[in-house]
């Protein structure tokens, strides 16, 4: 769709950036020591830290990705909300207090507390860097996607803008400024999400959504066919001429190209009903032109989508002032028009065709539209295992993310670590319940951009006026700033503290370590900018799923065993981290999804069919840790046993 930047959005965005930079410079004077830089001096109040946790955790994937996924795939997007929140239970009940007791600045500190092992320092430092960079990519991609509608700038400039602002935030006051930026963003995000849901419920649902009267509802045309046989489609309306009749998606999708008044349009044939339904299309023509529904982008002929075709069989319905329950109930009783996508290459260029998929509301509100879990609908055992693997990664990944774990060092004591986790669970849990209403709200409000479902939440806000759109968009941008700041602090700690100081033995003064961390922040920020530009267009939630899988595989087994198995040896920890890291990375890089979406090797069968590696790599990491521990413990015990005892 054609985005026009709003001056309001620019003003609010600039105000927010000025505020966060002001916070950073304010705290810069107080951040001279390594403790101040990496852990905010351990003096953050638990309530502030809890909301900062929310600000750190609710990334672009949560706000943009989940709302977008719910808007197009219904309940399956909500599964991410459930999994992301459930992970905090692991953090609270298993990790929070022990992590505070064991560590100082980084995740590696906690693992290495008992051992003082260079091997652990190296393995944990590398793991922190890899997980953080995996997590950084989707944040930067999200920044690039947001900057066009918000500021009217090209994609790359959004990535550079976020990179530069975050580098300034982190290099001025490290964890202190990062904490307050995340606190501000986390609090505002939850409050304005509540406002947005209140507006959605107040406006209610209509079968002809018009964005509060601002954008007229496009009435989709259905044509009656007299014959729908392949190659012989004929219509009642003689003003349309059938140009071509073809099938896509392995023959399941029957399409025709019709001509009327010199304009060609694609239509989807319903072989059973004997009707043709209107589609939307984007044509990338050989001569370089890009046409939206046969016209240039500026003509505005490409419509936002998402509506209920009927509610309880009635096609002209408007219900307002809904409750949390009746909103869901209304969707359940209706038929949602979702949109499928097919691509065809023709003599004049490549055409992407978006076609209507009427879906019963009941199906939208249960699993199965995105993830195949129902054998009755053709789900294979592998697809069901893949689903379980994803849910496992979400559950175990949260408590293994280095940028989350280091926030336990910013509070004064273990009890504060626990309390801040509880505040985080309350704020994040509330937000994730709201994602269901924001996503479903977008699904039925005619606001979805077919070319970019990540924009569903901001576009839903725009349907309520430019002010709320400007605030939500600026917040979405701030979401990226907050999360990226945390990731860069974690990465700079891994470089300066774990790898240079503790592993490399480069002895530095306190000030020297802060200087090294700031230099590392600039370097990691530059890498993040580069990757954000290179990975433009990749699905945000998909990439975050990888980061969770790598974190759950490399870090969680080591943390759990160090905390709860006294026999764990340093060799076991190193083996657990490295095996988890290598196994999860290998499975991801050799998966079919990576072959298709990253290497763009369409039609090539990848060696690994599984898209989500956690179900294999997490047990492998545990097994490697336990086996190595048992072997090394035996070796250590053997010489001691062979030494004859000496009388006292």
């Amino acid at each position: 769709m054609n985005y026009a930047p709003s001056p309001w959005a620019v003003v609010i965005f600039l105000a927010f950036v000025s505020l966060v930079l002001g916070i950073s410079f304010h705290f810069a004077r107080k951040t001279r020591t390594a403790s101040g830089y990496f852990a905010a001096g351990g003096q953050i109040h638990w309530a502030v830290n809890g909301i900062a946790f929310a600000g750190d955790y609710l990334s672009a994937a949560s706000f943009l990705g989940i709302c977008g996924m719910i808007a197009v795939a219904g309940y399956d997007g909500f599964l991410y909300s459930i999994g992301y929140l459930a992970g905090w239970v692991v953090a609270l009940f298993v990790i929070a207090e022990p992590m505070k007791k064991l560590g100082r600045y980084t995740f590696a500190d906690a693992l290495d507390k008992k051992f003082n092992s260079r091997g652990i320092q190296l393995a944990a430092g590398i793991s922190t860097l890899i997980v953080s960079i995996f997590y950084l990519i989707p944040q930067m991609v999200g920044a690039g996607a947001l900057v066009t509608p918000l500021l009217g700038l090209p994609n790359w400039s959004g990535v550079v803008l976020v990179g530069v602002v975050v580098i300034v935030i982190v290099t001025t006051a490290g964890m202190t400024s990062t904490t307050y930026v995340q606190f501000l963003k986390g609090g505002l995000l939850v409050v304005f999400s509540l406002v947005l849901v209140f507006l959605v419920l107040s406006r209610g649902i209509t079968t002809k959504p018009d964005q509060g009267g601002e954008v007229p509802f496009h009435e989709y045309v259905t044509l009656k066919a007299t014959n729908v046989s392949d190659g012989a489609v004929t219509l009642e309306d003689a003003s349309y001429q059938v140009v071509e009749d073809f099938r896509l998606s392995g023959g399941a999708l029957h399409l025709v190209l019709l001509r009327k008044d010199g304009t060609d349009t694609f239509w989807k044939v319903d072989d059973t009903a004997g009707t043709l339904s209107e589609t939307q299309s984007i044509a990338h023509l050989s001569d370089g032109r890009v046409l939206y529904n046969g016209k240039p982008k500026e003509a505005g002929a490409f419509f936002q989508v998402g509506h209920l075709r009927d509610i309880g069989g009635e096609t002209e319905v408007r219900v307002a002032n809904l409750s949390l329950g009746s909103f869901i109930e209304t969707i359940r009783d209706g038929t949602v028009i979702r949109w499928g996508k097919a691509v065809t290459t023709r003599t004049d260029g490549t055409h992407t065709i978006y076609y209507q998929v009427p879906t019963p509301g009941r199906d939208v509100l249960k699993p199965g539209l995105k993830y195949k879990v129902d054998p009755a609908r053709g789900a294979s055992p592998l697809e069901r295992i893949d689903f379980l693997s994803l849910m496992l990664a979400l559950f175990l990944g949260t408590a293994s993310l280095p940028h989350i774990l280091i926030r336990y060092y910013t509070v004064p004591n273990p009890a504060s670590a626990r309390k801040s986790t509880i505040v985080a669970i309350a704020a994040i849990g509330l937000f994730y319940i709201l994602t269901l209403y924001m996503g479903l709200g977008a699904m039925v409000s005619g606001v979805i951009d077919l070319t970019n479902d990540n924009m569903s939440a901001p576009l839903l806000a725009r349907s309520f006026g430019v002010t709320i759109f400007a605030i939500i968009s600026a917040l979405a941008f701030a979401t990226v700033l907050g999360t990226v700041s945390g990731l860069i602090v974690a990465s700079s700690g891994a470089v300066a503290h774990d790898l240079m100081d503790r592993f490399g033995g480069i002895r530095m003064t306190d000030a020297g370590k802060v200087r090294a961390a700031k230099t590392a922040s600039v370097a990691v920020g530059a890498v993040a900018i580069l990757l954000g530009i290179l990975f433009e267009g990749m699905n945000v939630s998909f990439l975050v799923g990888w980061a969770f899988a790598v974190a759950a595989s490399a870090n969680l087994p080591a943390i759990v065993m160090v905390l709860f198995w006294n026999k764990t040896t340093k060799e076991g920890v190193v083996a657990g981290v490295l095996v988890g890291l290598v196994a999860s990375m290998s499975l991801i890089l050799l998966s079919q999804e990576t072959y298709n979406n990253v290497y763009h090797l369409v039609g090539v069968t990848a060696p690994v069919a599984l898209s989500n590696p956690a179900i294999v790599s997490v047990p492998l990491s545990f097994a490697a840790l336990v086996v190595t521990t048992l072997l090394t413990a035996r070796k250590k015990a053997a010489p001691a046993a062979s030494v004859p005892s000496t009388p006292a």
């Binding site: 909300s81 239970v89 609270l92 009940f93 689903f387 559950f395 004064p412 009890a415 509880i422």
Partner: protein
């Protein structure tokens, strides 16, 4: 070498809190595991109406609310245990003072 960034006194309630945390984790893991299991074994069951909603949405929201409720309950018990067992320690184990 790498001590915590701040100091605090011994917490005599650690083992009780750890045990409670483990049990609550197991309880929640069972709830979450049941959710995953139902999704892959009985997707039809997830679509059954319960009032105006269905099992899938109710179970999902229940998982989120259960996390919140267990968290509050856990904190309540931990704070009480800390107060009782660390009464003589004279420090701020419950973290009330803040920064």
């Amino acid at each position: 070498m790498h001590e915590p960034a701040t100091d605090w006194k011994e917490d005599k309630s650690s083992s009780i809190k750890e045990l409670l945390g483990k049990w609550l984790f197991v309880l929640y893991a069972l709830l979450y595991g049941g959710f995953m299991f139902l999704n892959v074994t009985s997707p039809g069951f997830m679509g059954i109406d319960v009032g105006g909603l269905n099992v899938a949405i109710l179970y999902g929201i229940l998982l989120i609310l259960a996390a919140m409720l267990l968290a509050f309950a856990y904190n309540h018990v931990c704070t009480r245990v800390e107060e009782l067992m660390n009464r003589d320690a004279g420090d701020d184990p419950a973290g009330k003072d803040g920064p």
